[in-house]
Symmetry: none
Protein backbone atom coordinates (compact mmCIF):
# COMPACT_ATOMS: atom_id res chain seq x y z
CA UNK A 1 0.00 0.00 0.00
CA UNK A 2 1.39 3.38 -0.97
CA UNK A 3 0.80 6.23 1.41
CA UNK A 4 1.33 9.88 0.67
CA UNK A 5 3.12 11.39 3.61
CA UNK A 6 1.45 14.60 4.67
CA UNK A 7 3.78 17.58 4.98
CA UNK A 8 4.35 18.02 8.71
CA UNK A 9 4.59 21.79 8.44
CA UNK A 10 3.23 24.85 10.11
CA UNK A 11 -0.37 25.40 9.13
CA UNK A 12 -1.84 28.82 8.47
CA UNK A 13 -4.84 28.24 10.73
CA UNK A 14 -2.68 27.13 13.66
CA UNK A 15 -1.18 29.42 16.32
CA UNK A 16 2.42 30.27 15.59
CA UNK A 17 4.81 27.40 16.29
CA UNK A 18 2.18 24.69 16.30
CA UNK A 19 2.33 21.78 13.92
CA UNK A 20 -0.23 19.33 12.66
CA UNK A 21 0.57 15.73 11.80
CA UNK A 22 -1.73 13.20 10.19
CA UNK A 23 -1.02 9.54 10.81
CA UNK A 24 -2.88 6.88 8.84
CA UNK A 25 -3.82 3.69 10.65
CA UNK A 26 -1.97 0.89 8.93
CA UNK A 27 -3.88 -2.19 10.06
CA UNK A 28 -6.83 -3.48 12.03
CA UNK A 29 -10.51 -2.80 11.63
CA UNK A 30 -9.93 0.93 11.39
CA UNK A 31 -7.14 0.69 8.83
CA UNK A 32 -7.07 3.68 6.52
CA UNK A 33 -8.53 6.08 9.07
CA UNK A 34 -6.45 9.07 9.99
CA UNK A 35 -5.44 10.29 13.44
CA UNK A 36 -4.45 13.92 13.75
CA UNK A 37 -1.83 15.13 16.21
CA UNK A 38 -0.87 18.66 17.20
CA UNK A 39 2.44 19.67 18.73
CA UNK A 40 3.54 23.02 20.10
CA UNK A 41 7.19 22.44 19.34
CA UNK A 42 9.21 19.64 17.89
CA UNK A 43 7.62 16.48 16.58
CA UNK A 44 6.73 13.26 18.29
CA UNK A 45 10.01 11.82 17.26
CA UNK A 46 12.07 14.88 18.17
CA UNK A 47 15.07 13.45 20.00
CA UNK A 48 15.74 16.76 21.71
CA UNK A 49 12.55 16.31 23.71
CA UNK A 50 13.76 13.12 25.34
CA UNK A 51 15.65 13.85 28.55
CA UNK A 52 19.17 12.41 28.46
CA UNK A 53 20.17 9.71 30.91
CA UNK A 54 22.46 10.71 33.75
CA UNK A 55 26.00 9.59 33.07
CA UNK A 56 26.47 8.41 36.62
CA UNK A 57 27.85 4.99 37.37
CA UNK A 58 24.48 3.66 38.35
CA UNK A 59 22.64 0.45 37.75
CA UNK A 60 19.42 2.43 37.62
CA UNK A 61 18.40 4.52 34.68
CA UNK A 62 18.28 8.10 35.88
CA UNK A 63 16.82 10.53 33.38
CA UNK A 64 17.80 14.13 33.90
CA UNK A 65 15.06 16.26 35.45
CA UNK A 66 13.20 18.42 32.98
CA UNK A 67 12.07 21.87 34.04
CA UNK A 68 9.13 23.02 31.97
CA UNK A 69 8.88 26.76 31.37
CA UNK A 70 5.22 26.60 30.52
CA UNK A 71 2.99 26.33 33.55
CA UNK A 72 1.77 22.83 32.79
CA UNK A 73 1.09 20.93 35.94
CA UNK A 74 2.48 17.44 35.83
CA UNK A 75 0.01 14.62 36.08
CA UNK A 76 1.54 13.56 39.39
CA UNK A 77 0.77 16.95 40.88
CA UNK A 78 -2.86 16.52 40.05
CA UNK A 79 -3.10 13.25 41.93
CA UNK A 80 -3.78 13.52 45.60
CA UNK A 81 -2.20 11.74 48.48
CA UNK A 82 0.86 10.10 46.97
CA UNK A 83 3.09 11.52 49.68
CA UNK A 84 6.26 9.65 50.54
CA UNK A 85 7.20 9.22 54.13
CA UNK A 86 9.38 12.10 55.30
CA UNK A 87 13.14 11.71 55.39
CA UNK A 88 15.06 11.89 58.61
CA UNK A 89 17.41 14.85 59.02
CA UNK A 90 21.00 13.93 58.25
CA UNK A 91 20.05 10.43 57.14
CA UNK A 92 23.17 10.41 55.00
CA UNK A 93 25.30 10.38 58.11
CA UNK A 94 24.20 6.84 58.80
CA UNK A 95 26.26 5.81 55.80
CA UNK A 96 29.48 7.33 57.09
CA UNK A 97 32.39 4.92 57.23
CA UNK A 98 30.88 2.61 54.62
CA UNK A 99 32.95 2.25 51.51
CA UNK A 100 32.75 0.19 48.35
CA UNK A 101 35.28 -2.60 48.00
CA UNK A 102 36.78 -4.51 45.08
CA UNK A 103 36.57 -8.22 44.42
CA UNK A 104 39.17 -8.99 47.04
CA UNK A 105 37.39 -7.02 49.74
CA UNK A 106 39.94 -4.22 49.61
CA UNK A 107 38.20 -0.93 50.20
CA UNK A 108 38.38 1.64 47.43
CA UNK A 109 40.22 4.90 47.93
CA UNK A 110 38.51 8.25 48.35
CA UNK A 111 36.81 9.78 45.33
CA UNK A 112 37.58 13.31 44.30
CA UNK A 113 34.53 15.46 43.82
CA UNK A 114 34.17 18.31 41.35
CA UNK A 115 35.22 21.60 42.89
CA UNK A 116 31.71 23.02 42.66
CA UNK A 117 30.29 20.59 45.20
CA UNK A 118 30.63 21.86 48.77
CA UNK A 119 29.41 19.95 51.83
CA UNK A 120 27.12 21.65 54.34
CA UNK A 121 26.19 20.86 57.91
CA UNK A 122 28.13 19.94 61.04
CA UNK A 123 30.90 17.41 60.43
CA UNK A 124 29.88 16.72 56.87
CA UNK A 125 32.97 15.95 54.80
CA UNK A 126 33.45 15.04 51.15
CA UNK A 127 32.82 11.36 51.87
CA UNK A 128 29.43 12.00 53.43
CA UNK A 129 28.64 14.43 50.65
CA UNK A 130 29.40 11.80 48.02
CA UNK A 131 27.21 9.25 49.78
CA UNK A 132 24.30 11.62 50.13
CA UNK A 133 24.51 12.81 46.53
CA UNK A 134 24.81 9.27 45.20
CA UNK A 135 21.88 8.09 47.31
CA UNK A 136 19.77 11.04 46.23
CA UNK A 137 20.45 10.31 42.58
CA UNK A 138 19.29 6.75 43.11
CA UNK A 139 16.37 7.30 45.40
CA UNK A 140 14.63 10.54 44.62
CA UNK A 141 12.65 11.28 41.53
CA UNK A 142 13.03 15.01 42.06
CA UNK A 143 15.83 17.20 40.79
CA UNK A 144 18.95 16.95 42.94
CA UNK A 145 19.78 20.58 43.60
CA UNK A 146 21.31 20.66 47.08
CA UNK A 147 20.40 22.82 50.05
CA UNK A 148 18.93 26.23 49.42
CA UNK A 149 19.60 27.79 52.80
CA UNK A 150 22.84 29.65 53.52
CA UNK A 151 25.75 27.91 55.18
CA UNK A 152 25.53 30.09 58.28
CA UNK A 153 21.86 29.48 58.83
CA UNK A 154 22.23 25.73 58.24
CA UNK A 155 25.07 25.48 60.73
CA UNK A 156 23.06 27.45 63.28
CA UNK A 157 19.72 25.78 62.95
CA UNK A 158 19.70 22.72 60.72
CA UNK A 159 16.46 21.42 62.22
CA UNK A 160 14.69 24.36 60.68
CA UNK A 161 16.55 25.02 57.47
CA UNK A 162 17.90 21.68 56.32
CA UNK A 163 15.90 20.07 53.54
CA UNK A 164 16.09 16.32 54.15
CA UNK A 165 15.02 15.56 50.59
CA UNK A 166 18.24 17.05 49.28
CA UNK A 167 21.83 15.92 49.77
CA UNK A 168 24.13 17.63 52.24
CA UNK A 169 25.61 19.99 49.69
CA UNK A 170 25.29 23.61 48.82
CA UNK A 171 22.99 24.39 45.95
CA UNK A 172 24.93 24.28 42.73
CA UNK A 173 24.44 26.78 39.97
CA UNK A 174 25.12 25.40 36.52
CA UNK A 175 25.98 28.26 34.17
CA UNK A 176 26.55 28.42 30.44
CA UNK A 177 30.28 27.95 30.95
CA UNK A 178 29.75 24.71 32.86
CA UNK A 179 27.52 23.43 30.11
CA UNK A 180 30.06 24.39 27.47
CA UNK A 181 32.85 22.70 29.39
CA UNK A 182 30.81 19.55 29.73
CA UNK A 183 29.97 19.61 26.05
CA UNK A 184 33.67 19.93 25.29
CA UNK A 185 34.46 16.91 27.43
CA UNK A 186 31.83 14.91 25.62
CA UNK A 187 33.23 16.07 22.28
CA UNK A 188 36.73 14.98 23.23
CA UNK A 189 35.53 11.59 24.42
CA UNK A 190 33.50 11.10 21.25
CA UNK A 191 36.42 12.01 19.03
CA UNK A 192 38.66 9.55 20.83
CA UNK A 193 36.10 6.81 20.43
CA UNK A 194 35.55 7.65 16.78
CA UNK A 195 39.30 7.62 16.22
CA UNK A 196 39.57 4.24 17.88
CA UNK A 197 36.69 2.73 15.95
CA UNK A 198 37.52 3.89 12.45
CA UNK A 199 40.62 1.77 11.86
Amino acid sequence: MNVTIERKSDCAALPKGWQREEIMRKSGLSAGKVDVFYYSRGMRTDVSLVPPIRQTASIFKQPVTVYKTQDSKSKADLKHGTLDKPNQLFWAKRLEGLRACDVDGVELGPVELPKGLKPVGPNVDDGTLLQSVATSLHVTSQAVTGQQASKAVLQMNPGVFLNPDQPLMHSVNINEDDIRRQEDRVQVARRKLQEALKC
Copy 2:
Protein backbone atom coordinates in the same frame (compact mmCIF):
# COMPACT_ATOMS: atom_id res chain seq x y z
CA MET B 1 -11.17 5.57 48.04
CA ASN B 2 -10.95 2.15 49.64
CA VAL B 3 -9.73 -0.68 47.53
CA THR B 4 -10.21 -4.30 48.31
CA ILE B 5 -7.05 -6.17 47.55
CA GLU B 6 -7.89 -9.10 45.32
CA ARG B 7 -6.94 -12.43 46.81
CA LYS B 8 -4.04 -13.69 44.75
CA SER B 9 -5.49 -17.15 44.74
CA ASP B 10 -6.68 -19.73 42.32
CA CYS B 11 -9.68 -18.42 40.44
CA ALA B 12 -12.64 -20.58 39.49
CA ALA B 13 -12.63 -19.49 35.87
CA LEU B 14 -8.93 -20.28 35.47
CA PRO B 15 -7.49 -23.65 34.52
CA LYS B 16 -6.38 -25.63 37.57
CA GLY B 17 -3.13 -24.41 39.06
CA TRP B 18 -3.22 -21.01 37.40
CA GLN B 19 -3.22 -17.84 39.42
CA ARG B 20 -4.22 -14.31 38.63
CA GLU B 21 -2.50 -11.31 40.18
CA GLU B 22 -3.40 -7.67 39.79
CA ILE B 23 -0.62 -5.17 40.22
CA MET B 24 -1.41 -1.49 40.48
CA ARG B 25 1.06 0.87 38.86
CA LYS B 26 2.52 2.93 41.67
CA SER B 27 3.99 5.90 39.83
CA GLY B 28 4.36 7.60 36.50
CA LEU B 29 1.76 8.88 34.11
CA SER B 30 -0.23 5.67 34.32
CA ALA B 31 -0.20 5.44 38.12
CA GLY B 32 -3.32 3.76 39.41
CA LYS B 33 -3.81 1.57 36.38
CA VAL B 34 -3.74 -2.14 36.91
CA ASP B 35 -1.64 -4.74 35.15
CA VAL B 36 -2.92 -8.30 35.35
CA PHE B 37 -0.57 -11.26 35.42
CA TYR B 38 -1.26 -14.96 35.14
CA TYR B 39 1.09 -17.64 36.42
CA SER B 40 1.03 -21.38 36.11
CA ARG B 41 3.47 -21.87 38.96
CA GLY B 42 5.11 -19.65 41.51
CA MET B 43 4.28 -16.01 41.98
CA ARG B 44 5.74 -12.90 40.51
CA THR B 45 6.97 -11.81 43.90
CA ASP B 46 9.00 -14.97 44.31
CA VAL B 47 12.37 -13.28 44.60
CA SER B 48 14.19 -16.39 43.48
CA LEU B 49 12.53 -16.08 40.07
CA VAL B 50 13.77 -12.57 39.39
CA PRO B 51 17.22 -12.51 37.82
CA PRO B 52 19.54 -10.23 39.80
CA ILE B 53 20.95 -7.13 38.14
CA ARG B 54 24.64 -7.18 37.30
CA GLN B 55 26.56 -5.14 39.82
CA THR B 56 28.67 -3.49 37.15
CA ALA B 57 29.07 0.26 37.08
CA SER B 58 26.80 0.62 34.12
CA ILE B 59 24.14 3.03 33.07
CA PHE B 60 22.32 0.18 31.41
CA LYS B 61 20.31 -2.35 33.33
CA GLN B 62 22.01 -5.70 32.83
CA PRO B 63 20.08 -8.61 34.26
CA VAL B 64 22.09 -11.75 34.76
CA THR B 65 21.47 -14.38 32.09
CA VAL B 66 19.07 -17.07 33.15
CA TYR B 67 19.59 -20.64 31.98
CA LYS B 68 16.30 -22.48 32.05
CA THR B 69 16.41 -26.20 32.71
CA GLN B 70 12.94 -26.72 31.35
CA ASP B 71 12.78 -26.70 27.58
CA SER B 72 10.97 -23.39 27.30
CA LYS B 73 12.17 -21.48 24.31
CA SER B 74 13.18 -17.92 25.08
CA LYS B 75 11.28 -15.12 23.41
CA ALA B 76 14.32 -14.21 21.33
CA ASP B 77 14.50 -17.70 19.93
CA LEU B 78 10.94 -17.47 18.68
CA LYS B 79 11.68 -14.46 16.54
CA HIS B 80 13.04 -15.32 13.11
CA GLY B 81 15.72 -13.58 11.17
CA THR B 82 16.87 -11.08 13.78
CA LEU B 83 20.50 -11.76 13.00
CA ASP B 84 22.98 -9.10 14.04
CA LYS B 85 25.76 -8.18 11.72
CA PRO B 86 28.85 -10.26 12.44
CA ASN B 87 31.52 -8.88 14.73
CA GLN B 88 35.01 -8.23 13.49
CA LEU B 89 37.76 -10.39 14.96
CA PHE B 90 39.63 -8.62 17.74
CA TRP B 91 37.28 -5.64 17.63
CA ALA B 92 38.19 -4.95 21.25
CA LYS B 93 41.71 -4.05 20.18
CA ARG B 94 40.40 -0.90 18.59
CA LEU B 95 39.70 0.36 22.09
CA GLU B 96 43.27 -0.08 23.31
CA GLY B 97 44.78 3.02 24.81
CA LEU B 98 41.42 4.57 25.59
CA ARG B 99 40.82 5.20 29.26
CA ALA B 100 38.08 6.80 31.32
CA CYS B 101 38.93 10.11 32.92
CA ASP B 102 37.61 12.05 35.89
CA VAL B 103 35.97 15.47 35.89
CA ASP B 104 39.33 17.19 35.50
CA GLY B 105 40.32 15.12 32.48
CA VAL B 106 42.85 13.12 34.49
CA GLU B 107 42.88 9.54 33.26
CA LEU B 108 41.97 6.85 35.75
CA GLY B 109 44.52 4.29 36.86
CA PRO B 110 44.43 0.66 35.78
CA VAL B 111 41.73 -1.58 37.20
CA GLU B 112 42.59 -4.87 38.84
CA LEU B 113 40.67 -7.82 37.49
CA PRO B 114 39.61 -10.88 39.45
CA LYS B 115 42.25 -13.59 39.30
CA GLY B 116 39.98 -15.93 37.37
CA LEU B 117 39.88 -13.73 34.29
CA LYS B 118 42.72 -14.50 31.89
CA PRO B 119 43.24 -12.71 28.58
CA VAL B 120 43.64 -14.73 25.38
CA GLY B 121 45.04 -13.85 21.97
CA PRO B 122 48.20 -12.15 20.72
CA ASN B 123 49.11 -9.02 22.67
CA VAL B 124 45.93 -9.01 24.69
CA ASP B 125 46.64 -7.64 28.15
CA ASP B 126 44.43 -6.98 31.16
CA GLY B 127 43.43 -3.57 29.82
CA THR B 128 42.14 -4.95 26.55
CA LEU B 129 40.47 -7.75 28.43
CA LEU B 130 38.64 -5.28 30.65
CA GLN B 131 37.48 -3.27 27.66
CA SER B 132 36.23 -6.30 25.79
CA VAL B 133 34.43 -7.72 28.81
CA ALA B 134 32.85 -4.37 29.65
CA THR B 135 31.74 -3.83 26.07
CA SER B 136 30.32 -7.33 25.86
CA LEU B 137 28.30 -6.79 29.02
CA HIS B 138 26.83 -3.65 27.52
CA VAL B 139 26.31 -4.74 23.96
CA THR B 140 25.43 -8.41 23.80
CA SER B 141 22.25 -9.96 25.01
CA GLN B 142 23.86 -13.38 25.26
CA ALA B 143 25.65 -14.81 28.22
CA VAL B 144 29.21 -13.53 28.51
CA THR B 145 31.22 -16.72 28.88
CA GLY B 146 34.57 -16.06 27.20
CA GLN B 147 36.37 -18.07 24.54
CA GLN B 148 35.81 -21.82 24.44
CA ALA B 149 38.87 -22.81 22.44
CA SER B 150 42.18 -23.65 24.14
CA LYS B 151 44.87 -21.03 24.53
CA ALA B 152 47.27 -22.87 22.25
CA VAL B 153 44.79 -23.21 19.44
CA LEU B 154 43.69 -19.59 19.75
CA GLN B 155 47.25 -18.34 19.62
CA MET B 156 47.95 -20.52 16.61
CA ASN B 157 44.88 -19.87 14.56
CA PRO B 158 42.61 -17.14 15.94
CA GLY B 159 40.90 -16.64 12.59
CA VAL B 160 39.44 -20.10 12.93
CA PHE B 161 38.90 -20.51 16.64
CA LEU B 162 38.25 -17.06 18.03
CA ASN B 163 34.60 -16.34 18.73
CA PRO B 164 34.12 -12.62 18.01
CA ASP B 165 30.86 -12.54 19.97
CA GLN B 166 32.76 -13.22 23.17
CA PRO B 167 35.36 -11.11 24.97
CA LEU B 168 39.06 -11.89 24.71
CA MET B 169 39.15 -13.98 27.84
CA HIS B 170 39.34 -17.63 28.68
CA SER B 171 36.07 -19.25 29.48
CA VAL B 172 35.38 -18.94 33.16
CA ASN B 173 33.96 -21.75 35.21
CA ILE B 174 31.88 -20.58 38.13
CA ASN B 175 31.77 -23.31 40.74
CA GLU B 176 29.83 -23.69 43.95
CA ASP B 177 32.71 -22.19 45.91
CA ASP B 178 32.70 -19.04 43.79
CA ILE B 179 28.98 -18.68 44.31
CA ARG B 180 29.34 -19.17 48.05
CA ARG B 181 32.13 -16.62 48.21
CA GLN B 182 30.04 -14.11 46.28
CA GLU B 183 27.08 -14.77 48.55
CA ASP B 184 29.33 -14.16 51.54
CA ARG B 185 30.46 -10.85 50.12
CA VAL B 186 26.88 -9.81 49.58
CA GLN B 187 26.02 -10.89 53.13
CA VAL B 188 28.83 -8.80 54.56
CA ALA B 189 27.84 -5.77 52.53
CA ARG B 190 24.20 -6.17 53.56
CA ARG B 191 25.09 -6.49 57.22
CA LYS B 192 27.20 -3.34 57.04
CA LEU B 193 24.36 -1.45 55.41
CA GLN B 194 21.84 -2.76 57.92
CA GLU B 195 24.14 -1.80 60.75
CA ALA B 196 24.50 1.67 59.31
CA LEU B 197 20.79 2.15 58.77
CA LYS B 198 19.44 0.94 62.10
CA CYS B 199 20.77 3.73 64.26
